[in-house]
Symmetry: C2
């Protein structure tokens, strides 16, 4: 049982976490903090949080657990402002989609309290955002990746693990470096590709006909291009050292594919498509 | 009411069309033709077709309507073999994802019977294939694009339109050239991008971790990479004159995006992502 949980950034993820823990009776009191008064009012109105704090000092007071659920680009600033108000024994965790830069920011801001920071990332986004889209079941059967450092306090990590398990999530552990590569490939790169496609199509003269006649494939493929632009700008910039080489490799691979299409090389195309289909069909086992 | 409908290629699309028309009582008798005996047996076993023909001559006999539902690359050969057996008054239509090359093949093969060929394309694929995946409701509230030529017989086009409307589809008309550009952008290009991504990821050392930790975004984005490789090789080659410039433009746009990420140009990224999100949210109105 968590006595007081503080959510910094009561959006889709922060709000869904609060809802899940409340629904299961795993938390006594939830305090929220955010930059936007109307959003906080909405969160209180929806019963997602009990109270809103208007300063980070107030938000940190007597908290067992502080969950930082703001866009990755805002995390360093939050850490810096949050630290002076943290009490002994308060555990801090985050939900950022990039882990190495967040850990660096935590080391810089938290200092001696760094062992009580547990880096985390629930793999459970949707293209929707905001507390209005929050859902107590968002994390059910989803993965949460924790990337503890050698200094991370074992009991703190266990408490964060328990919190996520209480939402119905499966918690796994890996290094921050592994996480950032895995997510760059499975999430950050696809987001870039989807944004780029939609942005290209919308510039075409016949873009209305293209959107009007789009089938499920286009809808599914571009769904992530409806994601929050600020969140994705931040992720993209924070993970750019990992992301840029992948983007370059993809662009290079695309060159090979274009050559095969141009030359009418059906053998190369068939082999490539078949390899991709086989991989997706066999490796993406829990397709929903 | 269609007295005898012949489906050449009883797979997902051909099978679903037969099921839809039978379900609504719009057809008396459905004959199927295919290259694979086991698939035809399955189609008869499932009640999708009444009889299987083992020659195209037999398949064409006394048919009101012949629907060619084979991969685009096989259409020219089917047209050539089918033509001698066609009777006066028999209407031929197809379901190919590319229209200009199919029309050229029809002109070459059908000769004087060309006006009774109605080029068509139901925008209703899924990544599944085969008659086992066929579904009477596949076309419900989906679009079917007809691309009649100036020579196309009006009554023949009307009959094909009526057939598709009976499946619950919304039928629209455009030129074959328009169709091939619209589909290249909304379907063929995304398929290429999804195949290329999966194929790149599977070559990575940590590809198991990437697939294991993939969220809904990756699943949705790559769903079309589970599509039938032969079908997509054919579409890609048939429409390559339209597709290659789009692929090149995309690759070029990707270069601009990479540069912005590399330079940490958050403004350019935010603007691009926001433009894409706005376009998708407003233009893709009937999102499912």
């Amino acid at each position: 049982m968590i006595n007081k949980l503080t959510i910094i950034g009561v959006g889709l993820i922060g709000g869904s976490l609060a809802r899940a823990l409340r629904k299961g009776g795993h938390v006594r009191e939830v305090m929220g903090y955010g930059r936007n008064l109307a959003h906080l009012q909405e969160a209180v109105g929806l019963g997602v949080i009990d109270y809103a704090a208007v300063t980070l000092k107030e938000a940190a007071r007597e908290a067992d657990l502080v969950v930082v659920a703001v866009p990755v680009g805002s995390i360093p600033e939050i850490f810096s402002e949050l630290t002076p108000g943290l009490e002994d024994g308060t555990i801090v965790t985050d939900v950022g989609s990039v882990k190495v830069p967040v850990i660096k920011a935590a080391q810089a801001a938290l200092g001696a309290r760094f062992p009580f920071f547990v880096p985390g990332h629930p793999i459970a986004g949707t293209e929707r955002s905001g507390v209005g889209a929050s859902d107590a079941d968002l994390f059910r059967r989803r993965r949460v990746i924790l990337t503890p450092e050698p200094e991370t306090d074992t009991a703190a990590a266990a408490r964060v693990r328990t919190m996520w398990q209480a939402t119905g999530a499966e918690v796994v552990t890996m290094t921050a470096e592994q996480h950032d590569h895995v997510l760059a490939a499975s999430s950050h790169l696809p987001h870039m590709l989807a944004y780029a496609l939609v942005e290209m199509v919308v510039r075409m003269d016949d873009h209305r006909a293209i959107f009007d006649n789009a089938a499920g494939g286009f809808r599914d493929f571009t769904r992530i291009a409806s994601s929050d632009p600020v969140m994705w700008r931040d992720i993209c910039l924070a993970n750019r050292e990992v992301l840029v080489p992948l983007l370059r490799q993809y662009r290079n691979d695309l060159g090979t594919l274009i050559k095969a299409v141009e030359e009418g090389n059906g053998e190369v195309l068939l082999e490539l498509f078949a390899r991709a289909k086989r991989a997706r069909d066999t490796l993406l086992t829990n397709d929903k």
